[in-house]
């Protein structure tokens, strides 16, 4: 029973992180019809920036803010410089460009920050809550993880629903030509979309790193899990991405806890294949046939 509870709670907090990551993928997909395979590397890079600041004596929160800011700048910069030329072109070209970024950023981080394992601090306690003699593997930090993902979700909803910029971003994503005719500066909106997505991605990177060991490749599995979560949610819908993330987090945690940790990546593959073959538009998609 205790094990089941621990596995479930662990799955939920991992799932929250995958949800954030999937959300970042979905934001970019909606804006530019590109899957950003460099998302993990970008998040890793901004996490290292936080680590450098924290090690130089700054507080955790200064590092945290710096990493989110770095994500914002990195996302905008990458969209402007290398993604813009392949937007709307053959889909393969965009895929290869983001894969190139994935490799290059990871290697750059290893050159700048070293390739060894380093510990990354957490702002909250890492020992589980106890109820009587019953201890659950749910720590104050896990609560922070779930809380910050919820906050980001709400912020995004507010952005898209209630702000002018959000409306323009939605318009650009929906139909670039029409948006342009209506006077929306589509290029800027796409840049903004990438920038916001990179901030959410960086948040996921920071949350995974907290109270754990980081190294330049620590986000690699998350790219796969985040992608599976996003596809599960239908790639189009932010809410779908969040539900997909939580489901993947739980499923993988059960596999890891009861079947063996070496099967986790295989399970992710299995879920992905099943979803793509049975419900290619995700569990929640209402849109009709669009080729995948």
């Amino acid at each position: 029973m205790q094990q089941f509870l621990n596995v479930t709670l662990g799955g939920l907090s991992q799932g929250a992180i995958y949800a954030a990551f999937a959300l970042a993928l979905v934001l970019i997909w909606r804006a530019t019809r590109i899957i950003n395979f460099a998302q993990g590397s970008m998040a890793m890079f901004s996490t290292y920036i936080a680590l450098v600041l924290i090690e130089s004596g700054q507080s955790y929160w200064a590092g945290f803010a710096a990493a989110l800011l770095a994500g914002l700048v990195l996302g905008a910069l990458i969209e402007r410089v290398v993604i813009r030329p392949v937007e709307g072109g053959p889909e393969l070209n965009a895929v290869i460009v983001t894969l190139g970024l994935f490799v290059a950023i990871q290697a750059l981080a290893a050159i700048l920050f070293g390739a060894s394992f380093e510990s990354f601090p957490a702002p909250f306690g890492l020992s589980g809550f106890s109820v009587g003699e019953f201890t659950v593997a749910f720590t104050p930090f896990s609560a922070f993880v779930i809380g910050s993902v919820v906050v980001v979700m709400l912020a995004l909803v507010a952005l898209f629903r209630f702000t002018d910029i959000g409306l323009r971003m939605r318009a650009s994503a929906f139909n670039q030509e029409v948006a342009r005719l209506l006077g929306v500066r589509v290029g800027n909106m796409l840049t903004l979309g990438w920038a916001f997505a990179a901030v959410v991605g960086s948040l996921a990177g920071l949350l995974i790193a907290g109270g754990n060991l980081v190294h330049p490749a620590y986000m690699d599995p998350v790219i796969v899990y985040g992608f599976v979560a996003a596809v599960l949610g239908g790639l189009e819908s932010p809410a779908g991405a969040v539900v997909g993330g939580l489901l993947i987090g739980l499923a993988l945690s059960y596999v890891s806890g009861y079947l063996g940790s070496e099967l986790v990546t295989l399970a992710a593959l299995g879920i992905l294949v099943a979803v793509l073959l049975v419900r290619p538009h995700g569990l929640f998609s209402r849109t009709t046939a669009r080729r995948v």
């Binding site: 053959p90 070209n93 290893a110 050159i111 992608f227 295989l266 995948v292």
Partner: protein, 373 residues
């Protein structure tokens, strides 16, 4: 492709095979010379290049000609490598049989993956094959009794038989070291694969694959069964990956999950993109870069005063940057640039070469040159 060539092709189909065979034979002589004249260390580098190249020519057919991207070829190579490892245990059978078996097993795996992949496009396919590359090594860890877990399967590489060593000695006065012998196996396999692929893509299937890549609907209207053609391309490509895995297993003497990470799959993609998607020659060139570029780049890094670890990471950094730059500046890769220069040169000489072929719809704007390995 000038008009007389096309005409010659139409009327003398066998000459394509003849020309390819000739090219491959010339290459064979060159390979023997190079392997005999270089040090054991260069031999082992060339052996490494051979398995990259076998996988890369297969991948370039899939991605460049058929427009399907695969980030899972590292996993397919793992299938080939583990099959070889299991079959060579206790020297149960001669290595060519094991290689053939590895090819067949991987091709069967290719049918399964290809059938799923045929329904997917661009980023979905990339993501799904990425998951494949990350997931498959887990199988080896789960069945650690059979497949050796994290430590992997140690593989007893074939040793040169006396007749072969004697024959080569008679011919070239070179001692047959084990590194050299493995390089011969790798390059022999590579040349055979290139010959077969060159003929395949110059022929009917090559044309159909290109048609599917450039315009699915037109191809479908012309009576092409899209799904079946896509799966076929995947199977051919997987068979190459299986052979490449078999050669890798024998050269590295080990099949372990750590050898088949996502890094391997991305390296292969780099090779075919940099060389020029769809071009066999480009794939060979790209594979050479994979082997010979890292030491050169690492040396430059060390000269610049970087630590060993930093210098070691410089090579992947260069790969990544090159991938991006090639896609932005010259999507046709090195072979694309070469062709463009040739066309430009010809135009300058006033012979009026044909205009540059248009970029494919889903492809990378790479052109391809049929049988020219």
């Amino acid at each position: 492709m000038s008009a007389p060539t096309a005409a010659a092709r139409r009327f003398l189909p066998s000459s394509v095979f003849g020309r390819n065979l000739l090219t491959v034979l010339v290459a064979l002589v060159a390979v023997v010379l190079v392997l005999e004249l270089t040090s054991p260390f260069r031999n082992s580098q060339l052996a490494t290049m051979s398995y990259y190249a076998i996988a890369a020519v297969g991948l370039t057919v899939l991605t460049g000609l058929n427009g399907q991207i695969s980030l899972g070829h590292g996993a397919l190579m793992a299938v080939g490598a583990y099959t070889t490892g299991l079959l060579l245990e206790n020297e149960a059978m001669p290595f060519p049989v094991a290689m053939l078996a590895a090819m067949v097993v991987t091709a069967v795996a290719g049918i399964v993956v290809g059938a799923a992949a045929a329904r997917l496009h661009g980023p979905y396919l990339a993501g799904a094959t990425l998951a494949l590359a990350v997931g498959v090594p887990g199988i080896a860890i789960y069945f650690d009794g059979l497949l050796g877990g994290e430590q992997g399967l140690r593989i007893s590489s074939p040793t040169p038989p006396d007749w072969f060593a004697d024959a080569m000695y008679f011919l070239t006065a070179g001692e047959m070291t084990s590194a050299r012998y493995l390089a011969y196996i790798g390059w022999g396999t590579l040349l055979l694969v290139v010959l077969l692929l060159a003929n395949l893509i110059a022929g009917r299937y090559g044309r159909i694959w290109r048609a599917v890549r450039d315009d699915e609907i037109a191809a479908e209207l012309a009576g092409v069964r899209l799904g079946r053609m896509r799966v076929l391309a995947f199977v051919v490509s997987a068979a190459c990956a299986g052979l490449a895995g078999a050669v890798l297993a024998m050269v590295v003497r080990l099949a372990a999950p750590s050898g088949f990470t996502i890094v391997l799959s991305l390296a292969l993609l780099t090779a075919v993109v940099v060389g020029g998607l769809g071009s066999l020659g480009g794939a060979l060139l790209g594979s050479a870069l994979l082997v010979f570029l890292p030491p050169a780049v690492t040396d430059i890094g060390t000269d610049l005063g970087m630590s060993g670890v930093q210098a070691a990471q410089l090579a992947p950094f260069v790969y990544g940057v090159v991938l991006v730059v090639v896609m932005l500046a010259a999507p046709g890769g090195v072979m694309g640039i070469v062709r463009r220069l040739r066309h430009a040169g010809r135009r300058a000489r006033g012979r009026g070469g044909p205009s540059r072929p248009a970029a494919g719809k889903q492809g990378v704007g790479a052109t391809d040159q049929g049988g020219r390995g």
